[in-house]
Symmetry: C2
Subunit: 365 residues, 2 copies
């Protein structure tokens, strides 16, 4: 079942369903994205430690990566991004890019911020300089970045904020979603709405109704895995994900562990991103079929086997745990490269295996 | 003209000479090394930021890299290196490796050391632990590392040390050279002697006579570019390099700039190593045909051209100065990778061009 999305050149093809889980293809002008998909995070114009060639090479074969509006706006800034002709050319990445709107970073990374109905004033986490983001400014930055999928600018209140604060944030997020959609976009740039509402199901479903009525190309669940318990995350996912329009891609923002991805896919999510595989890699935590490997552990000192004997990545085909542990201890840059490639491959194959199961065991859509 | 070297499987083929400059091939059991050659430095089991695949890929195509006895002895240590089956297997590098003996590091990096006629007691720069290196211990470490070319353990006095200190160090270095040669080696491991003597030509030539009489597979000049003026370095090179036996490879240790390499080659040197291309890369200094590029400079902010338009490395074929500057400013790991690949390629091509000139304009040997 293929649905043309509102933005020209984008369509979503649903291939099979298994319960609420779905397998499909998001067709974009820059290439097809098989879903479910995990999108590596390239915050500041690079997936940390990786080249574009490595990301594209099988078995990792990343079909889409993330970029970040907040980070790229602060550094290198719009003048450079504009002169370079956008993020694809700047970073030499020719496949699709999704850009986060900066909303989450403004509320989590930036200094003292003032929020009003028009937008947010904040201080850069880099140099303390004062800046202002509004829905229109965020969309303008994303227009210059030229991402394939832009996200609306939203307000993310803390999970433990009182109900009246939550309601104000929710109303603003809806108003900002409308303004984001109305602002100019780059040619061939799809826009996704974001459903907030914390862990309160009534609030979540109410906001879902407001956002999905606006005609976005796809829909995201935001404000999950931001401090609430895993059980609460899963409860919201189970109750809400399948209520998002079935004919458009569904994106769970910033989540999570391999288990979270499995639960998200079971609940009906198509797209994921998270810094976990890349950040954990750099910090010594490696994913493996047999369980997580903490590479600094003394047990790896003389271990001549790979991180994961079932993994086809070049790190596992070439290098031992003993070598990786040595590189980690010696703070060698090569460690971050080899570890990141492995963790991203683990995530890609994990999601691809779940996709194949949906295609094999599910019903044709 | 081909000369069998003392160690089985090694031979040195002199192809052409141009003045004192030479072009040749050092044949080793692990592969041929066209000389003159620049050897990338892989101190702690990795050429910093690089994979073996990248080092082997043309146009860089490194035929030999360095490893360091001092660093690998301290971390990961001999138990790990022995269990791994040596440095080649540990680092997944199948081409030749030359190991420094640790002499230079003990005198430059380590803590309070006591030198006597038998060896050196020092404290680790990593954790302050106490260790002792002697010619026999250094050769034993290099045996376990399994390098293709081992260097003798030498004493490197400061360049400004008084004459009596210099003479004691010189006598020790000769005695240690004999002991290094007499100590057990790995099968198929060549051993190079090191000529010391500072900038005093009489002392240099006297030591050259002592060392070259011992029957090494090749000879190195040590203790140059350690604080003396460039003019003094060049004077010693010009007076001494061509006196090293012509039928064996000549190695100038730890030197230097592209100009130093050119002067060294003109003086008759065949092999070079230096951390300059890799360390400078990480610090923002990039080599280019048009002169050195300081990547953080504001002039590069909007420069969409490559580091060096004449350079065939993948960094220059793919990325702009603006992108590299951004990655440098954002302290992204990718910066170190792209910059190191470029600088090593610059050095490799610089030396290869000089070799081609000797072959084209020189006399057949």
């Amino acid at each position: 079942m293929l649905t043309e999305l509102p933005t020209r050149g984008f369509s979503f093809e649903l291939l099979a369903t298994l319960g609420n889980a779905r397998a499909g293809i998001l067709h974009t002008p820059r290439g097809d994205i098989e879903t479910p998909v995990f999108m590596p995070v390239g915050t500041a114009g690079t997936v940390k430690a990786m080249t574009a060639d490595e990301l594209r090479a099988p078995p990792l074969d990343a079909k889409i990566i993330l970029g970040n509006t907040y980070h790229l706006y602060l550094r290198p800034g719009l003048e450079v991004m504009g002169a370079a002709g956008g993020l694809h050319k700047f970073a030499a990445w020719d496949r699709p890019i999704l850009t986060d709107s900066g909303g989450f970073q403004v509320f989590s990374l930036a200094g003292i911020n003032e929020i009003d109905d028009d937008g947010v004033t904040f201080r850069s986490h880099i140099d303390g300089s004062k800046h202002r983001l509004t829905p229109e400014v965020s969309m303008e930055i994303q227009r210059v970045l030229g991402s394939d999928i832009a996200m609306v600018f939203d307000q993310c209140p803390p999970g433990d904020a009182p109900a009246d604060v939550q309601e104000v944030a929710l109303a603003r997020t809806t108003a900002w979603a409308k303004r984001s959609l109305a602002a100019p976009h780059a040619t061939g740039q799809a826009v996704f709405g974001i459903v907030q509402g914390g862990t309160d199901l009534e609030r979540r479903k109410r906001h879902l109704g407001e956002i999905t009525a606006l005609g976005f190309d796809g829909h995201a669940l935001g404000g999950l895995a931001v401090g609430e318990s895993v059980e609460e995350t899963y409860r919201v996912l189970d109750e809400v994900a399948h209520l998002l329009p079935a004919d458009r891609p569904r994106y769970l923002m910033g989540v999570g562990t391999p288990q979270d991805l499995e639960r998200g896919i079971a609940a009906g999510i198509d797209m994921f991103d998270c810094v976990m595989p890349t950040r954990n890699a750099r910090n010594g935590y490696l994913f493996a079929a047999g369980g997580r490997v903490n590479i600094p552990n003394a047990a790896n000192r003389l271990d001549l086997g790979p991180i994961d004997p079932t993994c086809p990545c070049s790190t596992c085909r070439t290098h031992s745990r003993a070598y990786l542990r040595h590189l980690y201890q010696a703070k060698e840059i090569l460690y971050a490269r080899l570890a990141t490639l492995h963790n991203l491959t683990f995530y890609a194959l994990h999601v691809r295996r779940l996709r194949e199961r949906i295609l094999a065991e599910g019903q044709r859509a």
